[in-house]
C-alpha cells in the first residue's frame, strides 16, 4: 500500500490583503496590546515592529527580547509591561528547556524540575511588585530580581529558591531519557542538526502549477507543482516548500467567491529526477476537493522553511494554471 504524503488544507486567504501598518520606530509592548484589539491584529503589529527593529539594526538578542515581550503583551492585554516581560522571560526559558531536553543536554527529571521552577516563577510574575523588581534587573536570568538575589551568577536555567540560590530539592520522578526519546521519535520529533548553521533559505521561485486532468476513476484530478530548488542550504538540511493557491471568479454560483488551498511538500517528496533536479523541485498532489478548474483565476506562490525553522520570503505571485493532462 503506497504511503500518502503531504496534505492539503483549504483555508481562506486573500492575496490582496491589506498591507501591514507602517512600523513605529520604537514600539513598546504595551502600545501593541490595547483592547479590544484582536489578537491577530496585535500580532501583526508585533511582526511589523520586529521588521522595524531589524531595519534599525538592533542587536539580535535585543530584537528577540522586544519581540517576545510584544507577543506576550498581545496574549495578556490586562497586565503591566513588567508583568508581560516577566511572563515572556518564563516562556522563553520553557522553550529553551524543551530544546535542551530534545538535545539530551538535560534529563527528563531535570527538565521537569526546571519547568516547575519556571511555573512557580510565572505565578510570581502576577505580583506587580515582583514583576517590577525583576524589570529593574535580573543579571543571571534566574527570574529572581537582583535586589533579592542572594546567589548572583546562578547557572543558566537552573531552578532556584526564592532567594535566587540553586534549589536543593530532590529531582522529581520522571520517565527515562530513553522513553522520552522514543516518544519524541515516534512522532517524528526529529531535529535536523545539519541545518544548525544554515542560513535563511533563499526565496524559491514559483515556476509551474499544472493540472493533470482527471483520468478514469479512482484516480482523481491532480496537481503538479514546480518550484526552484533552494540551493543555499547545507547538504542534509531538510527544506519544506509551502505553496498556496488562490482561486477567484468561480465557474459556478454555488462556490465561494474566493477560495484557497495550501500544500506543503518536503524536499524528499520531489519527483523531479532528471538533470533539472539540480535546480527544480517538482511535486505531485492528487487534488482532494473542488477542482481548481472551478475557478477562472488562479494565483499561487511559494516559500521555503528549513530544519531550523528559518523561513524564506514568499515568491512573487504567479498567475494561471497550465494543463498537463
Amino acid at each position: 500500500m503506497p504511503r500518502i504524503f503531504g496534505l492539503v488544507v483549504l483555508a481562506g486567504f486573500s492575496l490582496a490583503a491589506a498591507p501591514p501598518p507602517p512600523p513605529s520606530p520604537t514600539p513598546r509592548p504595551q502600545a501593541l496590546s490595547a483592547r479590544p484589539q484582536a489578537l491577530s491584529e496585535c500580532l501583526d503589529q508585533a511582526s511589523a515592529a520586529l521588521a522595524a527593529w531589524r531595519a534599525q539594526g538592533l542587536a539580535d538578542a535585543e530584537t528577540d527580547r522586544r519581540y517576545r515581550e510584544a507577543v506576550a503583551a498581545c496574549a495578556s492585554p490586562e497586565d503591566s509591561p513588567a508583568q508581560v516581560a516577566c511572563a515572556a522571560a518564563v516562556n522563553f526559558d520553557r522553550a529553551r528547556l524543551a530544546r535542551q531536553l530534545a538535545a539530551k543536554k538535560i534529563s527528563p527529571a531535570q527538565y521537569l524540575a526546571a519547568l516547575r521552577d519556571r511555573t512557580r516563577k510565572m505565578e510570581r510574575c502576577r505580583q506587580p511588585q515582583f514583576a517590577a523588581a525583576l524589570a529593574d534587573g535580573d543579571d543571571d536570568g534566574d527570574l529572581v530580581p537582583n535586589a533579592s538575589d542572594r546567589c548572583p551568577g546562578t547557572p543558566d536555567l537552573a531552578p532556584t529558591d526564592d532567594r535566587g540560590c540553586p534549589s536543593r530539592a530532590k529531582l522529581p520522578k520522571a520517565a527515562s531519557a530513553e522513553e522520552v526519546d522514543r516518544a519524541l521519535k515516534a512522532f517524528g520529533f526529529v531535529a535536523s542538526p545539519l541545518c544548525e548553521a544554515a542560513p535563511v533559505p533563499e526565496t524559491p521561485t514559483a515556476i509551474l502549477l499544472g493540472v493533470i486532468l482527471a483520468p478514469p476513476p479512482p484516480v482523481k484530478e491532480s496537481l503538479e507543482v514546480t518550484v526552484s530548488k533552494v540551493a543555499n542550504q547545507p547538504a542534509g538540511c531538510h527544506v519544506v516548500y509551502e505553496v498556496t493557491v488562490r482561486g477567484s471568479s468561480p465557474t459556478r454560483a454555488s462556490l465561494p467567491p474566493t477560495a484557497s488551498v495550501q500544500f506543503v511538500f518536503r524536499d524528499s517528496e520531489n519527483i523531479e529526477t532528471g538533470p533539472s533536479a539540480q535546480t527544480r523541485q517538482r511535486f505531485f498532489v492528487q487534488f482532494p476537493g473542488t477542482s481548481p478548474l472551478s475557478y477562472r483565476n488562479l494565483q499561487w506562490r511559494v516559500r521555503a522553511m528549513n530544519g531550523s525553522g528559518l523561513v524564506s520570503g514568499w515568491s512573487e505571485l504567479k498567475v494561471g494554471l497550465a494543463g498537463t493532462g
Partner: protein, 566 residues
C-alpha cells in the same frame, strides 16, 4: 503579507499522494510511494492534515453512547412487568420504603424522560451507508425522545450519511425488554441520550489553540542566544506535534499517512500562515478533551477549583507525567501552543461561579492567565464543571431539551476512566479506552455462554449501585434546603471520580500494571495492538467492568433524579 479570511473550497478532502496519476506511471522518475516512510514524520503535511481531525476519530464514542443506553434499558426493565423478579427484588439490608420509593422513582422517570424534546436536527442525508436503509427527512427534528423511530449513531450530526445505527438493538436480555417490531415498538430514548452523551467530544469550539511565538519567529536571534542547545529542527518539530496529539486522543494509526476523508470534518484554518508560530487557529475533536479530566490524586494542585482538571505538568497517578506527556510538553513549549482565549468557549463555559451547589466557585482568570503559558502549563477546569454547565442549561431551559443532558452524562462516563480521574493522557489512556470499545461486548457479557442469565446479574449489580447513587442525591437534597428537585451533578461526578480513582489505585497496588502502565502509551505509538493487549485480556476486562458498572449506575440515578427537575 498576512492573509485575511475568506472561504475555503467546498468540503475539502485530504490530499492523496499515494497513487501517482497515469501520466507519471511507468516513468523513470522517483515515484512518491518509494519515498521513505520516515519522511512522513516531519512532513508539514502530517501536521496540517491533523489540524483538522474529525469526529469520526472519537475512539470510545460507542462506550459513552452504550453506557447511557444500558442505564436506560435497565430503567425500562424495572418499569416492565416482563423482567425477572430478581432484577428489582429488594435487598435484605435496604428498608422496604426506601427500595420501593427507588423503584417508583424509576418508573415515574421513564415516561417523563421519553417526553423530553430529543433536540436532534434532521439528517444530513436520508440514505444510509449500508445502502439499504433510508430514513424520512423528518424522522428526528421536533420529535420527543420516545417518538424517535431510529437510533442515532455517534456521527449523526457530524457524519455525511443518514447517521443512524440501522441495525441497532439494545443487546442481550434487553432485546426482550425493548423489542423491535412486530413484537413491540422499540424505544430509542436511551440510545439517543447516549448519542448526546458522546457528542461532547465534538464541542470543537471549547478549545482553540494558537502558536504564541517564544522568540522572533525562529529567525536568527534565538539561534544566537541558544546556539549551544542544538536548536535545530524545532520550528519543524512543532509539526508532528499534531500527530502526537492525535495518537493520544485521535486515530494514531493513520497519523501522517491516512487518506482520511476530511470532507465533513474540515475546520478550515483561518490563515494559511499557520505554519509560522504566532499565527493560526487550531481546533477539532482532538482538542476538546482537555476539559474532560478531574484529578483526584491527593495533593494535586487545585489553584482554581476544589479539584483540578488537566494540568500536564502534574499529570499522572503520582503526579509524574509519563514519557509521552513530557514529549508533549517539550513540543508545546518549543512551539508556543497556547489556548486562544477569545475563541475558546471552554474558559467561559466551565469556569463555574454562583452555582449554589455546595462546591466553591472557580477562581476567575484573566486573559493572560489563559494565554500566557502554553496549554501544557494551563490548568483546565475539571470535568465536573463541564457537567454543571450542561445541567444548568437543562434546568434553566423551559423546554428541557435532552441535548443539555449531554454534558453531565459525558462527564459521568469520563469519570469512570482511571486516566481521566488522575489527569493524564498517558499511562495507557488511549489503549485503555480502545480496549473498552473493542471489547465492549465482553464488558457487557454479551459473549458469555448463557447471556441471558449472565446479563441479568450485572444489570442487578448496576441497579443496586444506582440505588446508592440515588441515595447520595437524596441525601444531598436533604442537606440543601431549596434544592429538593435539583441534582448535585458536580458532587455526583466528583464522587464517582473518587470511587474510580480509589479503585484504580488499589488495583494498581495489587497488579503493578493495571490500570496505569507507564509503558503503554509509548508502546502505543509504535504498536497499538501490543499496547491494547495490556487492557484487552479477560482479567483486565473484568477489572474495568467494575468502573463501567459504577458509571452506568450513576447515569441511571442521574436520569431518574433529573426527571424530577421538570
Amino acid at each position: 503579507m498576512p492573509f485575511g479570511k475568506s472561504h475555503s473550497m467546498s468540503r475539502p478532502r485530504a490530499a492523496r499522494r499515494n497513487d501517482p496519476p497515469a501520466a507519471l506511471r511507468g516513468s523513470p522518475r522517483r515515484a512518491p510511494e518509494r519515498l521513505p516512510r520516515r519522511a512522513i514524520a516531519f512532513a508539514l503535511a502530517a501536521w496540517l492534515t491533523f489540524l483538522i481531525p474529525g469526529p469520526a476519530l472519537a475512539h470510545n464514542g460507542l462506550v459513552h453512547q452504550d453506557m447511557t443506553d444500558v442505564a436506560w434499558e435497565i430503567m425500562l426493565a424495572v418499569s416492565n412487568p416482563g423482567h425477572p423478579g430478581a432484577l428489582a427484588e429488594r435487598p435484605s439490608n435496604v428498608p422496604a420504603a426506601q427500595w420501593n420509593a427507588f423503584v417508583a422513582s424509576i418508573q415515574a422517570a421513564v415516561p417523563k424522560v421519553r417526553a423530553l424534546p430529543a433536540g436532534l436536527p434532521g439528517p444530513h442525508k436520508t440514505a444510509c451507508s449500508d445502502d439499504v436503509t433510508t430514513v424520512p427527512t423528518q424522522w428526528a427534528s421536533g420529535k420527543s425522545l420516545g417518538d424517535l423511530a431510529f437510533a442515532p449513531g455517534i456521527t449523526y450530526i457530524t457524519g455525511n450519511d443518514c447517521g443512524v445505527r440501522a441495525k441497532w438493538a439494545p443487546g442481550g436480555v434487553f432485546d426482550g425488554i425493548n423489542p423491535a417490531p412486530p413484537a413491540g415498538h422499540r424505544d430509542h430514548t436511551g440510545i439517543a441520550l447516549g448519542f448526546w452523551a458522546n457528542s461532547i467530544d465534538d464541542e470543537y469550539d471549547d478549545t482553540h489553540l494558537w502558536f504564541r511565538p517564544t522568540s522572533a519567529g525562529g529567525l536568527g536571534a534565538i539561534k544566537k542566544e541558544a546556539n549551544d542547545l542544538a536548536t535545530a529542527g524545532f520550528a519543524i518539530a512543532v509539526l508532528p506535534f499534531v500527530c502526537l496529539w492525535d495518537c493520544l486522543f485521535g486515530s494514531c494509526g493513520s497519523c501522517g499517512s491516512d487518506a482520511k476523508d476530511l470532507a465533513d470534518t474540515a475546520n478550515p484554518i483561518d490563515s494559511v500562515e499557520g505554519l509560522i508560530p504566532g499565527i493560526g487557529d487550531i481546533s477539532g475533536a482532538n482538542y476538546t478533551g482537555v476539559w474532560h479530566f478531574i484529578n483526584m490524586r491527593p495533593g494535586a494542585p487545585n489553584d482554581y477549583d476544589d479539584r483540578p482538571g488537566m494540568l500536564y505538568e502534574t499529570a499522572g497517578p503520582d503526579g509524574s507525567p509519563d514519557a509521552v506527556e513530557i514529549a508533549l510538553m517539550a513540543i508545546a513549549d518549543a512551539s508556543g501552543w497556547s489556548i486562544h482565549y477569545d475563541k475558546s468557549l471552554g474558559p467561559r463555559r466551565y469556569t463555574i461561579r454562583g452555582a449554589n451547589d455546595g462546591h466553591p466557585d472557580s477562581r476567575a482568570r484573566d486573559t493572560g492567565q489563559w494565554q500566557f503559558s502554553t496549554f501544557v502549563h494551563t490548568s483546565f477546569e475539571p470535568v465536573d464543571n463541564l457537567a454543571f454547565y450542561g445541567w444548568r442549561r437543562f434546568r434553566e431551559d423551559s423546554t428541557h431539551d435532552a441535548h443539555n443532558l449531554a454534558w453531565p452524562l459525558h462527564a459521568l462516563g469520563d469519570a469512570t476512566v482511571p486516566m481521566h480521574v488522575s489527569g493524564t493522557s498517558g499511562y495507557g489512556h488511549r489503549p485503555y479506552e480502545d480496549a473498552q470499545e473493542f471489547r465492549w461486548s465482553a464488558v457487557r457479557r454479551l459473549e458469555d455462554p448463557a447471556p441471558s442469565n449472565a446479563q441479568w446479574s450485572p444489570a442487578r449489580q448496576i441497579l443496586l449501585k444506582a440505588f446508592e447513587w440515588r441515595r447520595f442525591i437524596l441525601n444531598w437534597r436533604s442537606a440543601h434546603p431549596g434544592h429538593s428537585r435539583d441534582v448535585p451533578v458536580r458532587a455526583l461526578v466528583t464522587a464517582l471520580a473518587q470511587k474510580s480513582f480509589d479503585y484504580s489505585r488499589d488495583r494498581q497496588a495489587a497488579t503493578g500494571l493495571w490500570p496505569y502502565n507507564s509503558q503503554a502509551s509509548v508502546l502505543y505509538l509504535a504498536d497499538p495492538g501490543s499496547a491494547r493487549n495490556f487492557y484487552e485480556h479477560p482479567a483486565a476486562i473484568d477489572q474495568s467492568r467494575f468502573l463501567i458498572e459504577s458509571g452506568i449506575a450513576a447515569e441511571l440515578a442521574f436520569l431518574v433524579s433529573a426527571a424530577e427537575a421538570f
